[in-house]
Symmetry: C2
Subunit: 469 residues, 2 copies
């Protein structure tokens, strides 16, 4: 419970309505998009609520909230637009939930220097549309773009669908404004590039609210491309598809979108364009027209050399139109299905091992009806896999156990094959006990040391990301 004294202190700092203890507000902010919470909710189980929801309107108010919390020793849970899927927030009545959705301005767009600044709670699609009006693009297109915030992108180290050409959020962040646990404001990132000590922006990116509250973000922009084109190829085997992908990026071609679907996903998502027993490699090419033309010719040759037959150019636009449509968790639960996606990554030589071992170990679970995967983020050194699993349980009480076991098996099979256990959804509570695979025990100890130094009271999003020693 948050005391009346604290509530009054918060009220003194915020605008009218900025401190909300109504049932509607507390209910609405109990959880984000993590399926386990939706499952519990659907089953009528209790989900803890925050003690209070506060809605800052500007950075000074975020600082004031953090100071009140620091003085009172009260945990803070930052909340962007609630699209997280890994249990990054888990408020209870001891917490102040800092709802950043009311801090949503586009601060500035600089067309000459190609940077734009946003409040942390600015909706991603609104941010993109604001720069698009000037002929520019952020180039960051997560599937969640319409329901995620710019600050959330930074806090979770997000990746977008155009990442193969345009990079991930860390390649776009110019500066981050963050309120530290002591209430001090720091703006990290000043120059186009610097060798001015460690790049402290990276302490905040991916910290998922554990190191402070991101209040503003400046992103670098791009001009909208002169030409866009799509290609698609049928992949006789995953291995052939991986080989084509590798040859394309290692030959320095960078289609913003490059996605290989396994046979199951090709059949499920690309029915009009699917070829029997084949997967699908889909690309979107974008840039100056002459470079796109050169890329199209090169990609055709490299794909052919890897044994891929050309598919329909319409597969790309088909995907573009439908790419952000997802069924609601409840629709699936009503069908006795629990479904989730798990994104991991690995070097080229290990990625087939990850795919095979994950599929085998997960399919061995009786309630599993389907495991499939596609790759959607490609690097010179390797690529990601994005698994989807579907489990069927007549008794929904059994769903959580299966769900956790699928996650555990997937991450452990990935780690066993030398892969990284988290490509872009972050860690939250779902991956934190597997984080040692990526960081090692000494890396975890280092992370705890940093956390203890920056947040000695342990008030910033406690319980998230960092496993106990």
């Amino acid at each position: 419970m948050i005391s009346d004294t604290i509530l009054r202190k918060l009220e003194a700092e915020l605008d009218a309505g900025g401190v909300d203890t109504s049932d509607a507000a507390l209910d609405e902010r109990r959880h984000d998009y993590w399926v386990l919470k939706h499952l519990r909710n659907w089953r009528g189980e209790k989900i803890e609520r925050p003690g209070v929801v506060v809605r800052p309107k500007n950075t000074a108010q975020v600082q004031a909230i953090v100071r009140v919390a620091a003085e009172g020793g009260i945990p803070l849970v930052p909340f962007g637009l609630g699209s997280g899927v890994c249990g990054g927030i888990e408020p209870d009545e001891s917490c102040i939930l800092v709802d950043l959705s009311t801090m949503n301005r586009v601060r500035e767009i600089d067309e000459t220097n190609l940077v734009a600044s946003f409040d942390a709670g600015c909706n991603g699609l609104e941010a993109e549309e604001a720069v698009a009006e000037r002929g520019l693009t952020i180039g960051h297109w997560p599937q969640s773009i319409a329901v995620s915030s710019v600050g959330g992108w930074v806090s979770t180290r997000a990746a977008g669908q155009f990442s193969t050409g345009y990079g991930n959020i860390e390649d776009m962040v110019y500066a981050i404004e963050v309120v530290l646990p002591n209430g001090e404001l720091v703006t990290l990132g000043k120059a186009p590039r610097a060798a001015a000590g460690p790049d402290l922006r990276h302490l905040v990116m991916g910290a998922e609210g554990t190191m402070g509250i991101v209040s503003g973000v400046t992103l670098s922009l791009r001009r909208q491309a002169e030409k866009r084109a799509f290609t698609a190829f049928h992949t006789p085997t995953l291995a052939a598809g991986f080989e084509a992908q590798r040859q394309i990026v290692q030959n320095e071609w960078l289609p913003p979108v490059m996605r290989q679907y396994d046979v199951r996903e090709s059949q499920r998502n690309f029915q009009p364009f699917h070829a029997d027993d084949q997967g699908l490699l889909l690309m979107m090419h974008e840039g100056p027209a002459s470079r796109v033309d050169a890329e199209l010719e090169a990609v055709e040759g490299l794909a052919s050399k890897a044994g891929l037959a050309r598919g329909s150019d319409e597969a790309g636009p088909h995907w573009m139109e439908r790419r952000n449509h997802v069924p609601t968790w409840t629709d699936l639960l009503e069908q006795n299905l629990i479904v989730d996606t798990i994104e991991v990554s690995a070097p080229w030589t290990r990625i087939e091992g990850v795919y095979d071992d994950v599929c085998e170990s997960v399919l061995a679970l009786d309630p599993i009806r389907l495991v499939s995967a596609h790759s959607s983020h490609v690097y010179r050194t390797g690529l990601n896999l994005y698994f989807t699993f579907v489990a069927l349980h007549e008794d929904s009480a059994e769903m959580e156990g299966t769900y956790r076991e699928v996650w555990r098996r997937t991450l452990e099979a990935t780690a066993k094959n030398g892969g990284g256990i988290a490509h872009h959804h972050g860690v939250g509570r779902l991956r934190k006990n597997e984080l040692h695979h990526d960081l090692g025990e000494n890396g975890l100890a280092l992370l705890r040391t940093l956390k203890g130094a920056i947040d000695p009271q342990g008030l910033m999003n406690p319980g998230n990301l960092i496993p106990d020693a």
Copy 2:
């Protein structure tokens, strides 16, 4: 003085010859390439020597050294190949100098995943040549490549001459192996890309030895390009040149090399190719032949539109051949000249202000004979400037004062114009009292908090990088 007890402990951990207190060794490792130390040396002034030089042969020996130092409360100064120019090391007799030049193996080259691992002390050119034998390249070409180490690149956040297309060292680092101040080893970076908490590689990159000792580095590689071509253009004004540079990169063309020289540097360095009263914009284009051809055509059009006339294609090869040749400091001192370079960066809209204000404020100093600049690292959001200054003093005792004043004026004029005070040489002792311009006082406080947590005894390269509170 390092006690005999400590020396014996170190000897027990290292190979024969690994603990060296000879005059030759101590003299050789008194300083790096910072001109101020060369000046003092040339003037016959005393330069402090380390208490002992230790030469680990492998990572376990680095850990052993760090543990001995930690137990004894003895400062450690890491030393790569000594190409630093900002005062990043300043050993005295209380210190153990950890000479990494004997830890110089190429550990592994993986041609499929395009990564290679090196001991931290591996010579940069030897690293590049090792991968070149396989048709690959690191793509990192600092002027110091033949005299700098792979670990040094990471510790200083280095940039190479091909950075406009291939990125800076942070874009190439796949993993960093670092011995923490408590002697524990941590390997940061496992996957092609991760959202597994804060990216801790960035705590080490640019830390200049203050957070631990980098013992190994894994870099991502590229295939050698199919085609290389050069272009050169005369720039009637710096502004016209900047406009051409901006249009080229903001239109998504990425020549690895893009350098604009002001009139003074064009005249000085490109005599056969210089046009009266004009600067020079020089580019190297590299990649798949068809993409290079498209880039050449586009660049010609964009440069022409910005008012630039085509220069000789031979200017590029002329630069390539001579690019890493620098006179020795002593040659210049013998002519009563003290010379240095200062690299800063700024957004496009502020870069002319930086150039003008730096030139004006530095030229106002009586002993200054020349200030000139070129830009050599270009980004969508802005670019760097690389100033050269020459001061003449009959009495060499006056050189240091002028030198420090030039640095102060340059960094302050840069900061006043919204620029970043350190593009890629790092901070050392030369910039640390100006670091507040980039980080702000709160950013400095954060950096001190991190340092205090990771290195509570303050033994790692003390006095470097982080200004006192």
